[in-house]
């Protein structure tokens, strides 16, 4: 169930990401929804889920992006594993820690991604910090929002059901 949920989340993130591909700042995409899904999986289910989600999501993203397949997978695997470990070590149930986790994960991902491409293309390493920070912020906001939605989802349904039952008793 958990695996299926992660896979669905990844597929949805990928679908959205491909439609948002034109939304770029410089040469870096302003948001990376697949990365958000990976970090979410890592924070929610631990390092194993994080690294597997990162591997699958990264490979799929690489395959669709047309670059060197494996660079994104490697980076997202690393992020999923590291964030999963950090999430297991620290309490990240609050919004701020989650925000920090998304920011950290995005920066780690970009660092690794750019370093790998510099290695592969035999060029000097350069980091687009401004675009990275923007993407990190956007990712963090989306990730935190996603956490809120998902966590609030079941309770919201229960509350609505409960409210509906109260109204029925009042009327009848």
């Amino acid at each position: 169930m958990r695996t299926a949920g992660v896979l669905v989340a990844l597929a949805a993130a990928l679908a959205l990401q491909t439609t948002l591909a034109g939304l770029t700042i410089g040469s870096t995409t302003a948001v990376n929804l697949v990365l958000v899904a990976v970090i979410y999986a890592a924070l929610a289910f631990g390092p194993v889920s994080g690294l597997l989600a990162g591997s699958v999501g990264g490979l799929a993203q690489d395959a669709l992006a047309g670059g060197v397949i494996g660079v994104g997978g490697f980076s997202k695997t690393l992020v999923g594993f590291v964030i999963g470990l950090l999430g297991a070590q620290f309490i990240v149930a609050q919004t701020l820690p989650r925000l920090v986790m998304f920011l950290t994960g995005t920066i780690i991902h970009e660092l690794c991604y750019q370093a790998l491409y510099a290695l592969v293309e035999s060029r000097a390493f350069r980091m687009p910090w401004s675009a990275t920070l923007i993407q990190a912020g956007v990712n963090a906001l989306i990730g935190v929002f996603a956490f809120q939605i998902i966590e609030a989802g079941p309770g919201l349904v229960q509350r609505r059901r409960a409210r509906g039952a109260t109204l029925s008793r009042r009327n009848f």
Partner: protein
Amino acid sequence: MLEIPPRAPYRQRTGYLFLAVMVGHLILISAQVQSKAGVPVLEGVTFGVFSRIQTGVSGAFHGVTGTWSNYVALRGVRAENETLRQRLGDLEVRLQEQRALAGRAAQLESLLQLRESTTLPTLSAQVIAGNPNPGLLTVTIDRGSSDGVQPDMAVIAPKGVVGRVIGPVAGHASRVQLIIDRNAAIGAISERTRAGGMVVGVEGDPPLRMDLVSNLADIVVGDVIVASGVDGIFPKGFVIGTVERSERGKALYRDLTIRPAVGFSSLEEVLVVLVPARGAVPEEAPKPREAAK
């Protein structure tokens, strides 16, 4: 009771999984990235690693086969070695025979050339025996009076003068006194300066000495000494040898030693010059009146 082996801790398994996935990604990246040599990194690394493995496997294989062929498979080698050694000995004997035949053919060839180059009537002969008496250096040849050989006929070889026929001469054999015999003598001159003298055999090395050459004569080491022909036996101009030592003598004559041109230790084929010595008369039975005188 069956004991279940303890499983690796969760964190450790996670680490292994992480490593495996990362390595998988690296391999995937390497397969797509080309090195500076134009070969995919994965291919290059794989080839490099596999070549090491191949080297190791090949070394091990050669070690095993070498052990097998050098030790295990050598059980019958001793007998084979013995057979081969015997065969090698036979072949060496045959080789020596062939070499001797070749040398003999070369000798015959040079003898034939000498025979064609000289205008003198000659008769080829083969040395069939050496000298049984150490005091006399003679050899026996397979030509005799029936072939026209007479005493005091000169015997020559391609390289130079050998000696002279000495009596008695048999029908199909004759004896030849070598010029290195201590009783032999031959009129000689220096080919370069024409300084004359007499070459005699001596016991020593070299076995020839040239006498009766004036101290004033110009003869140096390396000069070729040839027959002068004054003795009436040896044809003029045939090589006797070369001067090995030339020193001023105490008396009137120089001390000269000559290295013979002919190798007497390997004398096999010779030519008999069928020209009777000048002044020599056929051996006949002395007439009673002459005998009485």
